[in-house]
Structure formats: structure tokens, C-alpha cells
């Protein structure tokens, strides 16, 4: 089936809007065709994930667009890069990656993108509106936009995101289309571990279970603790997009397209209903760790996805005035850093030994001073990727357990 083109699409393909838009259209159309889209739609904004230096290839692509005089056609935020441009001295990796990563981030600015450098663009002023058609890269961002906001995007990969940004168009398929946003698998949480006071562990655990079970189908979750915050939903989505390819989830009575289970299912029957017990949730959390309780702790890594101001407001009182024994890294964005500065929290956290990592993330780049031994995190996504990316042992725990462990210098979990 051919992708039908508007007059404008055809003009772009013919080079009427310059050679960069033309190249973008040349890549975008086979991608649209490959996913079965019969046309393209206008997008209000894009989020480009291609700022992480993954090798010469993505720099070659960005430089090529710059050399063609390329310019994005819609507001385009940028995902994390390889470098913390605010604290470039934190980077302790190879010079080739420092140079390539720095250039890659600058090249995207030259293409007209907004230097947000965050994997949580939904926490910035560029948060899309309900129902907006957008083209977002970064699996957790796409999941949040679809699920928590009700904007509409597929999970765009690097390169496609920039092709959408350069053309202002996206393939009309998948989660852009109402009927594909229907839940197909229902997860019913039948019981919660009573020892889990907050909702954070339950959200990571159900995210992990749903991701493993669903692949890329849309789940609806029933029985999530009502105490779950927007930050907990962010963690749920990030985990489900790591252990699986979940681009959208519904939490019944919570997320905007799931006022009821029937609404999430769009009136149809689920293909499968999965019953989840407290024991399933506990086992899932246990299996996210490769390190045992009591292991000497090298560092705690928080902020995958980027810490929100709400998460900092929980972290700051947990840390108080005491200096931590283990190192602690917290990833966040420039815009959240400004809010930390305004509240005096930057100085307070740094005095306690916390390293704030801006524009990037500890699991995609080398900023940690000591990479040996055990790392601890409250992020299901970080716990999933760090053993492979960083070759470290991981202990997963709640935010409170992470802080208690950093103070003790060893893994100390209550649950």
C-alpha cells in the first residue's frame, strides 16, 4: 500500500523546502510505509532523542542535516545528551565521546531544536495538551505523553524523530489513531504488600510485569494504589517501556482515557486478564536486584527518568543535613535545576555529597567516579539497563531505602 501524499508533502519531497527537509521526507516515507501508515499527519511538536552519542553514525546524520541548511519546522525539544553541559568536568569517558557528544548536542541546537536536554520533556513548559498529535522519541516520554497526558504519539526512534521535526509531519498509525489506544490486556492487582507504605514500589513492579507480558500492546491496570503520584506513573511507564515496548498504558479511574475499565477497553472485551498478587509484586521487585542486602554500596543513582521538582521535595527532607557515606547521583534537567537553585536546594544537596547530573543520565554516559561494585537505584529503568550498560551490580529499592543505604554505606532495605 502506497503512502498518500498531500501537495505539501510532495513539494517537500521534490525539494521545494530545501534539501534537508527533502532528505527527511525521503527517510520518513519508507518508515511510514513500513508501519502500514496510509498517510502523514501534521504534528504540533517533536521531541528528538538523537543527542546521545552512540557512535559516529548519529553525528554523521546530524552534521549532514546541518550542512544542508536544515531547520526544524515545529517546536522540538531535545532528549538527554552525552554531556552534562552545565558540569562538563563530570565527564570522565574517552575524549572521542566527549568531542562527539558535545558536537552532537550543538548540532541539534543549530537545527533549531530547544536545548531542554531532558528525557522528561513533559516536566517542561513544552508539555503537550490533551489530544495533541506529536512525534516524541524516548520511550518513557512517549509513554507518559500518551498515557498520563493523553497526547498522541508513537514511540519514535532516533532519526525518525528528526525527520518528523524537519518536516512537521508524522506517519498516521499506531497510537496516533483512537482505536489503537484501546487496552487489550487487563492487569488486576488483587493484593498489595502491606509493608509497602507508598505506591512507588508497586508502580515499578506492575510496570515491569506489564512490559514483560505485553510487548507493545496497551495494558489497562486496575487496582493501582490511589496514593500513586504523577511521579509514580512516570516510573511505571518508564519501567514498562524498558522491560517491554509499552507505548501507552491506562490506569483505570486515573489516566485521562480510562475513566472506567470499559472506556479503556473502548467497549470491547479484553484479550486477556492477568491477576497480580502481592507475592508477584514482591518477587518482581526482588528480581530487579543483582546485589544482596548488606553489600558495600558504591553509589546511589536517582533520576531515571529525570527527577521532577516533586521528587526532589521528597528527597531533600530524607537527606536533611547529614553527609552521605556513599556517593549519590541525581539526574535532572536544566529547568528543574533552576527551581532547585531558587529554593536553595542545590547547595544543600551538594553539601550532603549529592552530585547533580544535568542534561544527561548516569546510565547513558560516564560521569560516575567509581564504577566498581554495587549501585543502588529506585528506578526500574536504571535497574534494568545498568548491568548491561555499565557492568555493575544493582540493588533496587524505594527512595527512602536508597537514602538510608547511602547513609549506611551498604545496601539496607526495610522491605
Amino acid at each position: 500500500m502506497a503512502v498518500s501524499l498531500t501537495t505539501q508533502d510532495r513539494a517537500m519531497l521534490d525539494g521545494a523546502h530545501g534539501p534537508a527537509a527533502q532528505l527527511a521526507m525521503r527517510v520518513l516515507l519508507p518508515v511510514a510505509k513500513s508501519v502500514g501508515a496510509d498517510g502523514l499527519i501534521d504534528i504540533e511538536q517533536a521531541h528528538a532523542g538523537s543527542c546521545i552519542y552512540l557512535g559516529q553514525a548519529n553525528l554523521d546524520f546530524a552534521e549532514h542535516l546541518v550542512s544542508l541548511g536544515g531547520r526544524v519546522r515545529v517546536p522540538t525539544t531535545l532528549n538527554v545528551g552525552t554531556m552534562d553541559m552545565i558540569h562538563p568536568e563530570l565527564f570522565n569517558g574517552p575524549d572521542e565521546i566527549r568531542a562527539g557528544g558535545t558536537r552532537l548536542m550543538k548540532a541539534h541546537e543549530e537545527l533549531g531544536c530547544v536545548p531542554t536536554f531532558t528525557c522528561a520533556p513533559y516536566l517542561t513548559i513544552y508539555r503537550p495538551r490533551f489530544g495533541a498529535q506529536i512525534a516524541w522519541s524516548e520511550s518513557n516520554a512517549a509513554s507518559f505523553a500518551n498515557s498520563v497526558i493523553g497526547a498522541r504519539t508513537e514511540r519514535y526512534g532516533d532519526f525518525v524523530d528528526m525527520c518528523c521535526a524537519m518536516t512537521g509531519r508524522a506517519p498516521y498509525y499506531g497510537l496516533h489513531v483512537t482505536e489503537n489506544r484501546r487496552a487489550r490486556v487487563v492487569f488486576e492487582i488483587e493484593s498489595l504488600p502491606p509493608e509497602w507504605a507508598a505506591a512507588d514500589l508497586a508502580c515499578v513492579a506492575i510496570g515491569h510485569i506489564a512490559g514483560k507480558r505485553c510487548g507493545n500492546t496497551v495494558p489497562a491496570i486496575v487496582g493501582l494504589p490511589s496514593a500513586a503520584t504523577e511521579d509514580d506513573l512516570k516510573a511505571l511507564g518508564a519501567t514498562a517501556a524498558s522491560s517491554g515496548a509499552v507505548g501507552m498504558f491506562h490506569v483505570v479511574s486515573r489516566t485521562p482515557e480510562a475513566p472506567s475499565l470499559d472506556a479503556a477497553l473502548q467497549g470491547e472485551a479484553p484479550e486477556e486478564t492477568v491477576h497480580v498478587t502481592a507475592d508477584d509484586l514482591r518477587a518482581t521487585v526482588r528480581n530487579l536486584s543483582t546485589a544482596a542486602d548488606g553489600s558495600p554500596l558504591t553509589a546511589v543513582c536517582l533520576g531515571t527518568p529525570h527527577f521532577s521538582i516533586g521528587e526532589f521535595s521528597r528527597l531533600v527532607p530524607l537527606i536533611g543535613d547529614t553527609r552521605l557515606t556513599s556517593e549519590m547521583y541525581v539526574n535532572t534537567s536544566r529547568s528543574t535545576l533552576e527551581q532547585l537553585d531558587a529554593r536553595g536546594w542545590t547547595r544543600q544537596l551538594e553539601a550532603a555529597g549529592v552530585t547533580l547530573v544535568i542534561d544527561t543520565c548516569t546510565y547513558v554516559t560516564t560521569v560516575m567516579r567509581d564504577m566498581s561494585g554495587t549501585m543502588m537505584t529506585n528506578s526500574g529503568k536504571w535497574a534494568y539497563y545498568a548491568p548491561g550498560n555499565l557492568n555493575v551490580d544493582v540493588a533496587f529499592g524505594s527512595l527512602a531505602d536508597c537514602v538510608a543505604s547511602a547513609r549506611a554505606g551498604r545496601v539496607a532495605r526495610r522491605a
Binding site: L23, R26, V27, P30, V31, S34, V35, G36, G49, S50, I52, L54, G55, Q56, A57, N58, D60, F61, H64, S137, E138, S139, A142, E154, R155, Y156, G157, D158, F159, V160, D161, C163, P171, G215, N216, A241, S242, G244, A245, Y384, Y385, P387, G388, N389
Partner: protein, 142 residues
Amino acid sequence: MTALAATTLAPGRADAAPVVLAEPLSFCGGLDAVTGRVIDRWHPQHGLFIAGGILVMESGRGSSGGGPVLAEAIRLGVAPLGIVLMRPDPILTVGALVAGQLYGRHCPIVLAEARDWPRITMAKRLVLDAEADVARIELFDA
């Protein structure tokens, strides 16, 4: 030899032994683009060398940086020579398309029919011809 029809996602030709993955692999964080090895510690085939074979997996998975990782592996010559999927994956498709545009090196990606999957995974050698919209997969027993 058996010939099957499939859908071209990214163009090219390849001829190699299949490397069948038991679970979908996220290229971003799951594949080392320099060595061509599976580095996802949670993947049952952790450590497997996938360069030079035709990767056969049901679908893509995980974070969206997979395209550049595939493009870089293609640039360095440690990518699979081709990929057979059962579900379309735009992340891998664009990685192959961009590598083709930038370097003129092609890693064909084809979408096979679900009913053909058992035969594809059992074959000893695969030949992919993905120059046209309709691709051809040739299966050999030896």
C-alpha cells in the same frame, strides 16, 4: 529450497545463516555496536555474536536509541547482514535506511508472515532479496 514472500521494510540483499533470538532484543543497551555482541544481561542469549548472520526475531523492543546503534554497527561492519521480523519495527528500519543513505551499506529488513515463522527459524541458511516492495526469503536446509 523454499521461497517465501515477505514485505520489504529496508532494502538490500543478504545471504547467511539465521541467528534466531529467543526473545526480542533492544539494540540500545542490548547490543554492543563495536563488538556485535548481545550485552543485555537479562537476555537469554547474553554474549551471543550476531554479526555476519541474519537476525531472526519476532519484534524489536526497548529504548528508541536502537536506530543509531544499528546504523553504527552497519558502519563498522558488525551488524547482522539482514533482519527478519514478524512485527514491523520502525526503530530498526530507520537505522538501516539512514546507514544506506549515509554510507551506501544496506542491511535489508523484511517482515515475514506469522505462518512462515516456524520454517524460517528452522532453516540452516537464508537468502533475502528485498530490492522491491515485495521481498523474497529463500530457505535452505543446509
